[in-house]
């Protein structure tokens, strides 16, 4: 798998440290099956250039992407997260993307309280015909996250700060 190889090749430095020259941001993109995934596909078919930093996860609807999924992505090493959904009014399930929108409005405030910069999380409406928009969003997001630098793992940072080896994972049992 190319992704695994890429993971091995790049050593993620911790937040605060100067990013190593080889550092490339990891971005998890949750794309809905009906619009945004097709949009990404079109970008590929149209041979549009966009960075290889995105790890695309196809979901049936952007409404399925619980905020906890986004936190889990950050927790497991993502430096940025994109959710792509159908334009308002175009949802295959009628209202799934409105649920995503409502969550986003509150979730952005939570992320801010968690100290995660605005540029690391993005919700975009990308239709099946908008290959170009997908490529543009991907480019912008990667550039923005690159400027912000690595997010770094809480676990490592805490272990370093307090000298503790934590036994349990966060996030319930």
């Amino acid at each position: 798998m190319t992704t695994a190889a890429a993971d091995k090749a790049t050593v993620t430095p911790e937040a605060g440290a100067a990013p190593a020259a080889s550092w490339e941001p990891k971005i998890v993109a949750f794309l809905c099956n009906w619009c945004s995934y097709t949009g990404a596909d079109l970008a590929g078919i149209s041979r549009l250039k966009y960075p290889a930093n995105l790890r695309i996860i196809r979901v049936m609807c952007s409404g399925r992407v619980a905020p906890a999924f986004v936190l889990k992505a950050f927790h497991e090493g993502a430096d940025g997260v994109l959710i792509g959904g159908c334009h308002p009014g175009d949802c295959h399930y009628l209202e799934g993307n409105y649920k995503t929108l409502k969550r986003k409005l509150l979730f952005e405030r939570l992320l801010e309280q968690f100290g995660i910069e605005k540029g690391r999380f993005r919700l975009e409406w990308i239709s099946g015909g908008e290959g170009e928009k997908f490529a543009r969003v991907a480019n912008e997001l990667v550039k923005e996250v690159q400027a912000l630098g690595p997010l770094g793992s809480t676990r490592t940072r805490l272990a370093r700060a307090d000298g503790l080896v934590l036994r349990a994972e966060g996030g319930g049992r």
């Binding site: 889990k72 409502k102 509150l106």
Partner: protein, 351 residues
């Protein structure tokens, strides 16, 4: 179960008594009171068990515990989170000496209220507490030290950590007894299980398995919220679902089994029983439930309604920040220090 206890009582009468340890770490003391809230049953406990450590009530010293053989204490009820090195040491000591370790109360289980301080690191907490609070007069900027040389020798104080940890971050925990504090009925259930030896599988949480909404008797209709209210702003209808009335109630994502004491007092659930077994994240789950309950499709109007949710992190993670995926503010610890300082300044200017 009562018969079991009687039988155990009779059996234990001439046998060796159970050895019980109770300890408090980063906690308020409420859990200690909760133990006494089992009322006259405490006498049964005293008949069945010898207490080897209970700092709030008895005068045993740490060295008394150190002198005990390993695994000689039958049960340790450990309340409070881990905030400093002394608490970590005691957690490790009591784990070594105890056969069964119970995380007692929300703080030991998930970090509880003290873990809300995980939005700040040690340096910014010290800066605030010993520097910038309006009632502080500390011109010399004296901060707590872990070592001090005096003529008699060197004195040591525990190290204050950068974050609050839950008990199972530090040691293996056998049972979780959640709640702030755990209700007397559940404490008694746990004691009965311990005494009769009929313990659930290791790792169990002594509470319900479903969400609080399952045991809530209030009338539930459609979740269509058009405005959020804080508890002091309205008097809610005590028959209807509180969330439907725009009051944030953590029932949908919180474990049942508390006896619905808050709901019966017309107060919303704040989540002290922690997440349901299936939940990936307590707070994020509630955020999702709250946001999607809002009625409408217009982004500006939705944003306006959702502004009514004050302090999302403090509300949704009130008891479970140390048990969350991210645990602390990502930018604290060196990187976010300047920013934290600026925020404090801004807050002061505003007030």
């Amino acid at each position: 179960m009562a018969a079991d206890v009687k039988a155990a009582q009779a059996e234990k009468a001439d046998k060796k008594k159970l050895k019980l340890a109770l300890y408090w770490a980063a906690s308020c003391g409420g859990c200690e009171i909760a133990v006494l809230d089992i009322n006259e049953k405490i006498l049964t406990v005293a008949e069945l068990a010898d207490i080897v450590l209970w700092p709030v009530a008895t005068d045993f010293k740490y060295k008394d515990v150190e002198a005990l053989p390993d695994k000689s204490v039958d049960v340790c009820l450990f309340n409070g989170a881990i905030r400093n090195s002394e608490q970590k040491e005691l957690a490790e000591l009591l784990r070594a000496k105890s056969k069964v370790m119970v995380a007692f109360g929300a703080c030991a289980c998930f970090g509880g209220i003290p873990a809300l301080a995980n939005q700040f690191d040690r340096e910014s907490i010290f800066e605030r507490v010993y520097g910038t609070t309006p009632s502080t007069d500390n011109v010399a900027r004296v901060l707590p030290q872990t070592k001090l040389a005096v003529p008699q020798g060197e004195l040591h104080l525990p190290t204050f950590y950068n974050a609050v940890y839950k008990l199972d971050d530090i040691v293996e925990v056998d049972y979780y007894l959640p709640g702030c504090p755990p209700p007397p009925e559940l404490i008694w259930t746990a004691i009965e299980a311990i005494v009769s030896g009929k313990l659930p599988p290791v790792g169990s949480t002594i509470a319900g398995e479903r969400s609080l909404c399952h045991s809530c008797k209030r009338k539930k209709e459609d979740k269509k919220v058009s405005a959020f209210h804080r508890v002091h702003e309205i008097i809610p209808d005590n028959e209807r679902c509180l969330l439907e009335q725009g009051i944030i109630c953590l029932g949908p994502v919180t474990r049942e089994g508390c006896g619905e004491r808050c709901l019966n007092a017309n107060m919303p659930c704040r989540g002290c029983f922690g997440p349901t077994p299936e939940a990936l994240e307590h707070g994020a789950g509630m955020l999702s439930a709250v946001a999607t309950a809002v009625e409408g499709k217009d982004e500006d109007k939705l944003a306006k309604v959702l502004e009514g949710v004050v302090d999302p992190l403090g509300t949704f993670y009130r008891f479970t920040l140390a048990d969350s995926l991210l645990r602390i503010r990502a930018k604290s610890l060196a990187a976010g220090r300047a920013e934290t300082g600026e925020r404090v300044k801004k807050e002061e200017a505003a007030s």
